[in-house]
């Protein structure tokens, strides 16, 4: 045996020993999938990275930490399931999943503390985590996203879609979205930028809401909070009628309209019309401050 062969064998041996010592295992599998099929992915802890591609296949590559039992991949009648299986003892480890799916797939990801990232998926996406963060690319299809405490980052390309996002304490950042947005949080912050909005419903308890974007003709915009501030910079070619109500918060605007008081009762109201008044914009809060501007 020559020296080079011996060195190579030793390298493989050391690498295997290192992998064994760390408990990491790798897993790879590819299964055929329909172009517009359904892909379900679940992982408790670690990461889930999903990307769309043009092949009619689902490819799974995973690094499995100690305590992960296995990864199940199955496909049946157009539905492909990828599931990280933990021991019944419940003391599971982390798994890092990299999954490639046909780009038009309908994608569902469920995770606990695993962070979820998607890119290049043009089908409907349903992304759920408990504490894991979610980063997703929007591509014109509907999105349903729910997280308890994870932070959410969404980036679109201005293609209209129905977006439904809710968190309990996680922050939400949405850039270049379009279409219909329904977003809610208890204590997280909503930072939303929509290129063209048909309808917006944003609701927060104590988190602040920041909106910037264009309202389509006849758009409907509602934002409410209990104590969070509402900062809205909404432009609209065809204008909108606006109505701002607070109980104890302050109202300011960039077009020099003067809020009215409710006589001897607490509260302020600001009402009026910008442009043709084709859309409707309502902002309501108890103690949050409101800033409204009709320019981005």
């Amino acid at each position: 045996m020559g020296f080079s062969r011996l060195a190579a064998a030793m390298t493989v041996l050391f690498a295997s020993a290192a992998a064994s010592a760390s408990g990491d295992k790798t897993f790879e599998r590819q299964v055929p999938a329909e172009a517009h099929g359904v892909v379900d992915i679940s992982n408790v802890s670690g990461t889930v990275v999903v990307s769309g591609w043009d092949r009619p296949q689902v490819s799974v590559r995973a690094e499995l930490g100690e305590g992960v039992e296995r990864v199940d991949v199955s496909t049946d009648h157009g539905r492909t399931t990828v599931k990280v299986v933990l021991p019944h003892s419940g003391h599971g480890g982390e798994a890092d999943l990299h999954v490639q799916v046909p780009k038009d797939s309908e994608l569902t990801v469920s995770a606990v503390s695993a962070d979820v990232t998607t890119a290049g998926v043009t089908g409907v996406q349903r992304l759920n985590t408990v504490s894991g963060d979610i980063t997703a690319e929007l591509a014109g299809s509907d999105l349903e996203l729910k997280s308890v405490s994870g932070n959410v980052k969404l980036k679109g390309h201005g293609q209209p879609a129905r977006l439904h996002v809710s968190t309990v304490s996680g922050d939400v950042h949405l850039e270049h979205g379009a279409g219909d947005l329904e977003a809610g949080t208890v204590s997280g912050t909503l930072v939303v930028s929509l290129d063209s909005a048909r309808s917006v419903r944003a609701r927060s308890t104590s988190g602040d809401v920041h909106f910037e974007g264009n309202l389509a003709r006849g758009a409907d915009f509602d934002a409410t909070s209990v104590s969070g501030d509402l900062n809205v910079r909404a432009s609209a070619e065809s204008g909108y009628a606006y109505e701002v109500s607070t109980f104890s918060g302050e109202i300011s605007n960039c077009f020099d309209a003067t809020p009215s008081e409710h006589g001897h009762l607490p509260g302020h109201t600001l009402q009026g019309t910008r442009g043709d008044g084709a859309g409707h914009l309502r902002l309501k809060t108890m103690s949050g401050d409101v800033q409204l501007c009709d320019r981005k």
Binding site: V130, S187, R203, S248, L265, M286
Partner: protein
Amino acid sequence: MSGSGSADERKVSSLRELSPAIEPPRDLWPQIEARINAQRRSAPAAQPRPARALPPRWLAAAALVASVAVGVWIGRSLLPAARSGSDVESARSASRASFAGAPTALDVAYVSDPRYQRDRAALMKSLQARLAALPPAARAKVMASLAALQRAKEDLESALGKDPGNALLQELLVNTYQDEMRVLTDVQASDAGRGI
């Protein structure tokens, strides 16, 4: 006393100047007594004036007082969120009790649907177990959010105590109840084995 027909009229400056021995020319009492008795006999014909004869301003004042009383009663009995002053504190205590798991009269008043009450009670009962199953960082955040919801409810109730008829506050309070249910449902659904 002066005698108008007396020629030698003089002024009396003190009662002591009058003679105590002067007798009245006749006894006047029988006539006085007869008049009093006559009035007593005719008393049934002179009924007290009916209430409608009271001046209108008394009626208006009475109606106002009655209205305020009914309003206060409704506010205290039927709209617990409209409590004010020290009652707000008791409402807060009730809310805190609710947070601990026991539905209060406050909840019942606003959300009278029995199914809502049943579902909420079940969710509150299992909340601690679900929270314990969450990762520590997530548990802390969720508890902070539940506390934020609780504060929001208390603040809204307190504000409604100042302005019971405020539609904005009522809408926000209903929203907050809905948000609380959403959070409880999401936490309930957060299975440690599969996410939410």
